[in-house]
C-alpha cells in the first residue's frame, strides 16, 4: 500500500534521524572515554543505516513518490528561495482591488546586484502557517497582486522571477464570485504582454491552472523532484476511476514528473537537487537555482524587448502534439 504523505513514506528515515540526533547529543555529554567510544560506534552504525535507507528511497522513486516529495513540508518554499537566491527583498502587498492574498508573495529584490521583481506561491509548514497561507492556494486577489507586480516590472524595466508551488488555485465560493478563472487567465495574458525577461522556476507542486497562472515565462526551469500537472493525481483518479485512492496510478499515467515534463520539452531545464531532496541541503539547492536564473537572464539579455515578447509566445505556440490525418 502506497503512503499518502511524505511523512508516512519517510517514517523509517525520520525515526532513524531522530535517533542519530539523540546519539549525537549523548556523545557530546559523555566524558567517560570507553562509553564515549561505544556511543560513537553506535552513531556510526546508525549513520550508515541512514545512508542505506536514503539511498534506497531516493533511487527507487516512482511518480507517486515524486508527488509526495514535491509536497514535502520541509522542502524550501518561495520565501526560502527568495532568501537563498536574492538579497534586499521588500515584500509588497495587495492587489489594489480587494485585498492581499497570503498564498502569493511578491516584491522587489536583487539578483547578484540586478534589481528584479519576484512573485511566487507560498505554502505553510505547520497548521497555523498553512491556514494563514491557505495551503498555497491563491484566490483571485493573489493573481491580481501578481499582475500588478508584473506591470510594475514592465514599467521600470525589471526582469521577473516567479516561483511556482501550489496544489491548485483556491476553488471556493468566494474565489468563484470574484472571478478566479478570469484572474488566472488575465495574469497569463499580462505575462504574454511583457517586454522584460521572465524566468519561472517550478520548485514544488505545479498544480494546474493555479500554477501556469504565474508561469508564462521566456524560460521555465524545474527542480528535479518538483511536479507539473494538469490535474492533481487524486482528482484524476476520482474522475476516471471513481476512486481518489488510485492517486499513484494516476500519477504514473499523467507523467507529471520533472523528467517527464523535460522529455516532452515543456520545461526548458531541469535543476538537480541534493541527494534525497532539496530540503536536505537548502543552501546548495539555493545556489543551483540562483546560478540557473542568472544564466537564463544572461542569455535573455541578448533579446530586444519585442523579441522577448515574441520568444515567449513562440515558446508556448509550438506546444501541442497532434497529427494531420
Amino acid at each position: 500500500m502506497a503512503a499518502n504523505t511524505w511523512k508516512e513514506w519517510m517514517q523509517g528515515l525520520i525515526e532513524l534521524e531522530e535517533l542519530i540526533e539523540k546519539l549525537r547529543q549523548a556523545l557530546d555529554r559523555e566524558s567517560e572515554p570507553s562509553e564515549h567510544q561505544r556511543i560513537e560506534a553506535r552513531l556510526k552504525e546508525f549513520e550508515r543505516r541512514r545512508d542505506v535507507v536514503l539511498e534506497v528511497i531516493t533511487t527507487r522513486m516512482g511518480p507517486w513518490e515524486e508527488v509526495l516529495m514535491a509536497r514535502a513540508e520541509p522542502r524550501p518554499y518561495t520565501l526560502d528561495y527568495i532568501e537563498l537566491c536574492l538579497t534586499d527583498f521588500i515584500e509588497l502587498s495587495g492587489d489594489r482591488r480587494y485585498g492581499d492574498d497570503k498564498a502569493i508573495v511578491g516584491g522587489t529584490a536583487f539578483l547578484d546586484g540586478q534589481a528584479v521583481v519576484v512573485v511566487g506561491h507560498q505554502k505553510g509548514r505547520n497548521l497555523q502557517e498553512r491556514t494563514f497561507r491557505n495551503f498555497g492556494m491563491a484566490k483571485p486577489e493573489g493573481y491580481r497582486k501578481a499582475m500588478r507586480l508584473f506591470r510594475m516590472a514592465e514599467q521600470f524595466r525589471l526582469p521577473v522571477v516567479t516561483f511556482v508551488d501550489t496544489p491548485a488555485a483556491d476553488p471556493g465560493v468566494e474565489s468563484e464570485s470574484r472571478g478566479i478563472s478570469e484572474a488566472i487567465a488575465e495574469s497569463m495574458r499580462v505575462m504574454f504582454s511583457l517586454t522584460v525577461p521572465v524566468v519561472s522556476v517550478v520548485i514544488g507542486e505545479g498544480g494546474s491552472g493555479g500554477a501556469i497562472g504565474i508561469a508564462v515565462a521566456n524560460k521555465v526551469l524545474m527542480l528535479e523532484h518538483a511536479i507539473y500537472s494538469v490535474i492533481p493525481p487524486e482528482g484524476c483518479a476520482a474522475i476516471l476511476w471513481r476512486d481518489a485512492k488510485k492517486g499513484p496510478e494516476a500519477a504514473a499515467a499523467l507523467r507529471l514528473t520533472a523528467k517527464g515534463a523535460h522529455e516532452f520539452m515543456l520545461v526548458d531545464r531541469l535543476l538537480e537537487e541534493p541527494f534525497g531532496g532539496a530540503h536536505r541541503d537548502p543552501a546548495s539547492v539555493g545556489e543551483t537555482v540562483k546560478k540557473a536564473i542568472v544564466e537564463e537572464f544572461e542569455a535573455l539579455s541578448k533579446f530586444t524587448p519585442s523579441e522577448l515578447r515574441e520568444q515567449r509566445y513562440s515558446r508556448f505556440r509550438r506546444m501541442g502534439m497532434y497529427e494531420t490525418a
Partner: protein, 274 residues
C-alpha cells in the same frame, strides 16, 4: 452524455430540465429551447453553425487535425475512437470562417459530445489558429465554448494549451482585432480559466454551467454556503464575469450588432456583402 432530446427522432421529445413533453418540430423551431421552462439544451456544432451564421457561409478549416496519445494514457485511444464514432468529429472543436449578416468571421465551435468538449492539443491548436486567422485577415473571432476543461489524458500538454490560447488572445488585443466568447453549457475549468475569460466581450446562454472547479470540490472547500445558482451563467454575470446573458433566439442578432460595433475600425474590404 446524451446528445439531447433529438437523440430519439420522433414526434415528441422530453425536456431534460422540466421533463415536460414537447412537439419535436416546435422544439427544433425554438432552437432546442424548452417552451415551458426555457431550458437551453446543448447543441451539436452543426446546429450551432446553422442557427448562428449566414446560411451556407461556413467553411471549415483544419479538418484533418487529430489527437495523438502523447502519454500513452490508459484507454485514451479507445475514448477518442468512441467519441469519433458517436459524433463523426475528429476532436472537440470545429473551426472555420463564416459570415454573420455579411461580416466575415473567424469562428470555432466546441462540441460537448466529443469527450466533454475537453481541450487537448488539437482543441488548443484549433482555438489558437482561429484567433491567428482572425488576426491575420483582420476579422473578428467568435468562439462558442462548451467544455469540461483541459483534457486530462494529455496531461501537461493540455495545461500548456491554456497558455498558448491566451497568448493568441493577447496578440489579437495588441492588434485591435476583436474576440467574442459565448459561454454555452458547460464552460468550465481549464477553458474558463484561459482564452474564454480574456475575450473582449463575453456572452452566455441562460443557465449554462460556468465555473472553475467541479461544484463538489468548490462546495467542499468552503464554509460559506454556495448560492442556489452557484456556477451558472447568472452567477457569473452577477459577479461581473460575463457581459450579458443572451437567450438563444437573440444570440445571432446580438453577435451581429457587436461585430458591427467592435469591428467598425477594421478594413471595409473584409465585410462581405451577403
Amino acid at each position: 452524455m446524451s446528445a439531447g432530446p433529438t437523440a430519439a427522432p420522433g414526434r415528441f421529445v422530453q425536456c431534460l430540465h422540466c421533463r415536460k413533453t414537447l412537439f419535436a418540430k416546435d422544439f427544433l423551431a425554438a432552437q432546442k429551447v424548452c417552451s415551458y421552462c426555457g431550458h437551453h439544451h446543448r447543441l451539436t456544432w452543426q446546429e450551432r453553425v446553422d442557427w448562428t451564421f449566414d446560411p451556407g457561409s461556413f467553411e471549415e478549416t483544419d479538418v484533418n487535425l487529430v489527437s495523438v496519445d502523447p502519454l500513452s494514457f490508459p484507454e485514451y485511444r479507445e475514448k477518442l475512437s468512441a467519441s469519433e464514432a458517436k459524433t463523426g468529429l475528429r476532436d472537440s472543436v470545429v473551426s472555420g470562417t463564416a459570415t454573420l449578416e455579411g461580416h466575415r468571421l473567424s469562428v470555432a465551435i466546441a462540441d460537448f459530445a466529443f469527450m466533454g468538449g475537453s481541450m487537448g492539443s488539437v482543441a488548443g491548436e484549433k482555438i489558437t489558429r482561429t484567433l491567428e486567422l482572425g488576426l491575420e485577415r483582420r476579422m473578428p473571432s467568435v468562439i462558442f465554448c462548451a467544455s469540461g476543461g483541459a483534457r486530462m489524458q494529455e496531461g501537461l500538454w493540455s495545461l500548456m494549451q491554456m497558455g498558448k490560447t491566451v497568448g493568441a488572445v493577447e496578440r489579437c488585443r495588441e492588434s485591435g482585432v476583436p474576440f467574442i466568447a459565448v459561454f454555452t453549457d458547460p464552460t468550465m475549468a481549464g477553458v474558463l480559466a484561459s482564452y474564454a475569460s480574456v475575450a473582449d466581450v463575453i456572452l452566455a446562454e441562460p443557465r449554462a454551467l460556468v465555473g472553475f472547479a467541479g461544484s463538489r470540490v468548490s462546495k467542499q472547500a468552503q464554509v460559506i454556503k454556495a448560492p442556489d445558482d452557484f456556477q451558472t451563467a447568472e452567477f457569473a454575470h452577477r459577479s461581473g464575469m460575463v457581459d450579458r446573458i443572451v437567450p438563444r433566439r437573440e444570440l445571432r442578432s446580438t453577435l451581429a450588432t457587436l461585430v458591427r460595433a467592435l469591428g467598425a475600425a477594421l478594413p471595409v474590404s473584409e465585410k462581405v456583402v451577403a
